[in-house]
């Protein structure tokens, strides 16, 4: 039977796009239901469904190819049906990852969730892999449709998340699966009929498949809304807050950056004041909370009828930089009062920094917030409650990523408030694998450069015992100061309350009067001094007593000549965070694992770096699953005929799967930093990458015709050369283009990745066609190996970046392309 390739390509593209959109939606939904890193593990392993599709195709290749049209439509329709259904069922598994260390049954629940969520990917992968096997000689067209479809799916999912809640996206994915099935089913070329599909399946099977496809489309509309709504873990802050009588969600926003909920509690007031001084005896104002994906993202103080700022703000550790500025001003002698500070509040949507700037009479406030939905709440539903802070004439809004703001602004500020390290909370669920480009050496160096002659840069964070967040930050601050040839011992100070610490970096050296102000502030507020130039250890432990003044000793060691030795010897990884290794909450060291596991019942569980261990567990599980998915079909093939060439082909497609994803992830990371709008950047860059790779795949046939002798080694060599060149080019782009408008940055970023992505799209179809010519039965297996390698690569990229940096990720990918070039199938 003849098929219409254009219609089939459309079906493949639609299905591939729907599968990628499904992946993005699941990530979003599980970040709401659970926590980000568990979502990451669940979705990564579910993607092994793609790898499993290779096994399925290998085992049933002949039967499925004989009924190609029916089989394609059937699997596409099943994807449409199972996508929403499996999410519904996975939500009912009573998964509580927090309990995993105590409750082995949770492992069973996680396993069940993997399997459920892998099913839709298995179906999509089988349909696409089947199309590749059916059209093995024109694999470049199918692969192009697959990549271009995925690109559009990524853009579509991100766009849809701006417009609708994720549950609506699930319906669309379901409908897209059904439509892909209908397109595949109707791809028969009626003008050129031939034997095949109907002969093998019969009209009844055909009608059933058509009904299933239509059913998937119909059901997408009819799914009960309650079934698709995310059910949040009872251990997330929003669930707990809503258990308190009288609390209610008064406003909501949803975007790809997170689901925001504003909660009011008129009967039992919220009282959020992180690290508040024990010397404070007043009342807190009425507050509302903004929660992102169920965790507290912002505190909004209610306006005082008399217009007075809330008194508690002056008793927060975060008030330190304002107090230092104010006390310095009050020393200047008689005369008119000095103007207030020019303040940049990075991450202003969280509320406290902005409230402090207003309370301390800032002359100029630059409020930088990347999430437009958060700003919408402040200027919309919360405006009247919070006395319209964004209408204040001193305030300027900047809807940009804080790092992008630091890179692009040409102003200087008296005070720069960086976002808190790890956000406002650290309840043991903070994402230790979360990237942050505002707490890196480079970002702090930029901030120092943007501060005025006597300006201060302040960063706060949660106290951990033993100290880790604070010390890693100080290590980065010291390195940043040294970039300006400033002695960190004279330009840094730190304090701590019982739960928060604050580090301040001063462009000019702290003088004795600054030190006097610092000591007075701490004495009055009953905060402890953690470091100032010339401080003695005896001063470090007055109000909040520790067995040892560990924070002071740690800071003193980090600022002194033994820094490297101290970092090497410390039990946690407190190496400074850099743009190449942007993980400010990663502290895990393998040498402590045994000790922590042994002590897990006696508090050690709280010190285990869960985010990191989850990534390692994901890698191990993916590797084990891969052995089954790869070796089982190979064993099956060997039973039937000698699998000559399988090892070589397997290595080739393994290297390609790993290397493609490693490069893609590394360059998306780099360009996201350049573009300064993380989500838009990730969407555009991901889509651009896939799109150009798709075009490259389409052009691979032509290349083979032009250059028939050695296309694979040539392409691999070009990829390596270009990837290495772009590492340098992107560094140049960051330096020169950080202040460019987005309209210029976007084409620059796409222009930078286009040639590389175009080339990256070629080795897969080139290899597949060679394999088809010699061992056609291995094509589905190669598809499975490639799918499995892609899952491994996503996890490996994170681990490599954590330990060695993103440059190492790029270099590893280059090495893999060279191995692939040496072992073409």
């Amino acid at each position: 039977m003849r098929l219409r390739p254009a219609r089939l390509s459309l079906a493949v593209g639609l299905l591939s796009g729907a599968a990628l959109a499904y992946q993005i939606l699941l990530m979003r939904l599980f970040s709401i239901v659970q926590w980000h890193h568990f979502a990451y593990m669940v979705i990564s392993l579910a993607l092994l469904g793609y790898g499993a599709s290779g096994a399925l195709l290998t085992l049933f290749r002949r039967q499925l190819l004989d009924r190609f049209r029916t089989a394609f439509a059937l699997f596409a329709a099943l994807f449409g049906l199972l996508g929403p259904a499996c999410f519904c069922l996975a939500q009912r598994m009573r998964l509580n990852p927090l309990e995993m260390i105590w409750e082995p049954r949770q492992l069973g629940a996680i396993g069940a969730v993997y399997l459920l969520l892998a099913l839709p990917f298995l179906c999509a992968g089988t349909a696409i892999g089947l199309a590749l096997a059916r059209f093995e000689r024109s694999a470049h067209r199918i692969y192009r449709a697959d990549l271009v479809g995925a690109a559009l799916g990524a853009m579509g999912a991100i766009g849809a998340l701006y417009l609708w809640p994720p549950a609506t996206g699930l319906r669309m994915v379901g409908a897209a699966g059904g439509l892909a099935a209908i397109l595949g089913w109707t791809a028969r070329d009626r003008r050129r009929p031939g034997a095949g599909d109907e002969a093998a399946t019969g009209p009844r099977a055909g009608r059933a498949t058509a009904a299933l496809a239509s059913g998937a489309v119909l059901l997408a509309v009819l799914w009960p809304a309650g079934w698709l709504e995310p059910r949040m873990s009872e251990y997330k802050a929003l669930s707990k807050v809503l258990a308190v009588p009288g609390t209610e969600v008064v406003a909501e926003r949803s975007s790809p950056l997170g689901a925001l909920a504003v909660v009011a509690s008129p009967r039992i007031p919220f009282r959020m004041a992180p690290g508040l001084s024990l010397a404070f005896s007043g009342e807190l104002p009425e507050q509302r909370l903004i929660l992102r994906d169920g965790e507290v993202a912002a505190v909004v103080d209610g306006a005082d009828p008399g217009g007075a700022p809330p008194g508690y703000l002056r008793y927060l550790p975060a008030a330190l930089p304002f107090e230092l500025f104010e006390r310095a001003g009050s020393r200047s002698g008689p005369g008119p009062p000095l103007p207030g500070p020019r303040v940049a509040v990075l991450g202003a949507g969280s509320g406290t920094g902005l409230a402090l700037a207003l309370a301390y009479g800032a002359a100029e406030i630059h409020a930088v917030e990347v999430d437009p939905r958060l700003l919408e709440l402040w200027t919309g539903e919360l405006a009247a409650f919070a006395a319209r802070p964004y209408d204040d004439p001193r305030l300027r809004r900047h809807a940009i990523d804080p790092r992008g703001f630091l890179g692009s602004t040409r102003r200087s500020f008296d005070l720069i408030l960086m976002p808190p390290v790890g956000g406002g909370t650290a309840t043991g669920t903070a994402d230790s694998m979360g990237e942050s480009y505002v707490h890196t050496v480079e970002a702090l160096a930029l901030a120092i450069g943007r501060s005025s002659d006597h300006g201060l840069v302040a960063i706060e964070g949660e106290i951990t015992a033993p100290p880790r967040v604070s010390l890693k930050l100080v290590a980065a601050a010291a390195a940043a100061l040294e970039r300006w040839d400033l002695d960190p011992r004279r330009h840094l100070a730190a304090i701590r309350s019982w739960s928060r610490f604050v580090v301040v970096i001063k462009r000019s050296a702290f003088d004795p009067r600054d030190v006097a102000s610092l000591r007075a502030f701490c004495r009055e507020r009953e905060f402890d001094l953690a470091y100032y130039p010339g401080m003695a250890a005896a001063e470090a432990n007055r109000f909040h007593l520790l067995d040892e003044p560990e924070l002071f000793r740690g800071i003193a060691a980090l600022l002194g000549p033994s820094r490297a030795e101290f970092i090497r010897g410390y039990k946690f990884d407190i190496r400074p965070t850099t743009d190449d290794r942007p993980y400010p909450l990663h502290f895990f060291r393998w040498r402590t694992l045994g000790e922590l596991v042994r002590l897990r019942m006696t508090g050690g569980a709280a010190l285990l770096d869960w985010g990191y261990l989850v990534v390692v567990a994901t890698l191990l599980q993916a590797a084990l699953a891969g052995l089954v998915l790869i070796l089982l079909p190979l064993w099956w093939l060997r039973r039937r005929s000698p699998a000559a060439g399988a090892g070589r082909a397997g290595l080739y497609f393994l290297c390609l799967g790993l290397a493609f994803l490693l490069l893609e992830i590394a360059f998306i990371q780099r360009l996201t930093l350049f573009l300064a709008h993380p989500l838009l950047a990730a969407g555009v860059v991901l889509a651009g990458f896939l799109l150009f790779a798709g075009l490259g795949s389409g052009a691979s046939r032509r290349l083979e015709e032009l250059w028939p002798r050695a296309p694979i080694p040539s392409v691999a060599a070009a990829i390596v050369a270009l990837a290495l060149a772009e590492l340098g080019l992107l560094g140049w782009l960051f330096e020169r283009g950080s202040a460019w408008p987005l309209a210029l940055k976007l084409p620059a970023a796409l222009g930078a990745i286009a040639p590389l992505a175009f080339l990256l799209g070629m080795p897969f179809p080139l290899g597949l066609r060679r394999l088809a010519a010699s061992r056609g039965d291995l094509v589905p297996w190669a598809w499975g190996v490639n799918g499995w390698a892609s899952v491994l690569a996503a996890v490996l990229a994170t681990l490599l970046a954590v330990h060695f940096g993103f440059t190492a990720v790029v270099l590893s990918a280059c090495a893999l392309y060279l191995v692939a070039a040496a072992t073409p199938p």
Binding site: E234, A243, V244, P269, T427, L545, G569, Y570, M601, T602
Partner: protein, 245 residues
């Protein structure tokens, strides 16, 4: 006939499984004793951080008397005497016995003390304290949890525990000052009214961390002059921090 015999056999079997009252009670007691040994060993292991190698005998006696299985949801009853936290609903847990033991010991309870607890939860901590002090006042913000705890404590005869449903932030001024305060609910900051209601020389204990893993315990001491200092107690024996020390 065969059917009714099978039902009778099943009932008999269930009866044997569930055990007669005294036999089951002995079993719980045995499990409780084993748990205490585990907690003693854990305390010994973390002695450097706790500043002592054993807790007060009175504290262990109290833990040995309180039937933890009565405070645990039926589906988790089999784990009652394992040294682990257990979910009790509404995002709350019944704390790990090792942590309960340390927190109770840190309060240094005396027989004549009056203690305030903020965050009743299942009522287990209140019951342990009730074994040691004159009166325990306990406040729970979630009505369902508070009502369950009240009924449970009444049923078990803890008549020196006074539970209340409400906002613990303002403490219970009618019964202040308290010899000690224990705040088992998550606290963004230390509520000033609770510090105020603490007797000079009194102590307040606050666990810091997530529901399933306490990171550290904060102990506040109110001095005779009304000033307050806090101390951090780390339950994990994680030392030394650097290779050189």
């Amino acid at each position: 006939m065969r059917c009714s015999a099978a039902v009778a056999g099943l009932l008999l079997g269930l009866g044997l499984l569930s055990g007669s009252g005294p036999a089951r009670a002995q079993d719980w007691q045995r499990q409780r004793s084993r748990l205490l040994e585990i907690v003693r060993a854990d305390v010994l292991e973390t002695q450097r951080q706790l500043g002592k190698d054993r807790l007060a005998d009175r504290v262990f006696d109290a833990l040995g008397r309180v039937p933890r299985h009565e405070f645990v949801p039926p589906e988790y009853r089999a784990y009652s005497y394992q040294n682990r936290p257990l979910a009790i609903g509404y995002g709350q847990t019944i704390s790990q016995p090792y942590i309960v033991a340390i927190m109770t010991d840190l309060l240094e309870p005396e027989a004549d003390d009056v203690v305030l607890e903020v965050g009743t939860g299942s009522g287990y901590q209140a019951a342990v304290l009730a074994e040691l002090v004159r009166t325990v006042y306990t406040i729970e913000i979630i009505p369902e949890l508070g009502a369950e705890a009240r009924a449970r404590l009444e049923r078990l005869g803890y008549d020196n525990v006074a539970p209340r449903i409400g906002d613990g932030y303002y403490g219970w001024p009618e019964h202040a000052p308290f010899d000690s305060v224990i705040v088992t609910a998550a606290a963004g900051h230390v509520p000033p009214p609770l510090v105020e209601q603490l007797r000079p020389g009194g102590r307040m204990v606050i666990p810091v961390g997530s529901p399933f893993s306490v990171q550290h315990l904060m102990v506040l001491t109110k001095h005779a002059d009304g000033s307050v200092t806090s101390r951090q107690v780390l339950p994990v024996a994680f030392v030394p921090l650097t290779g050189r020390r």
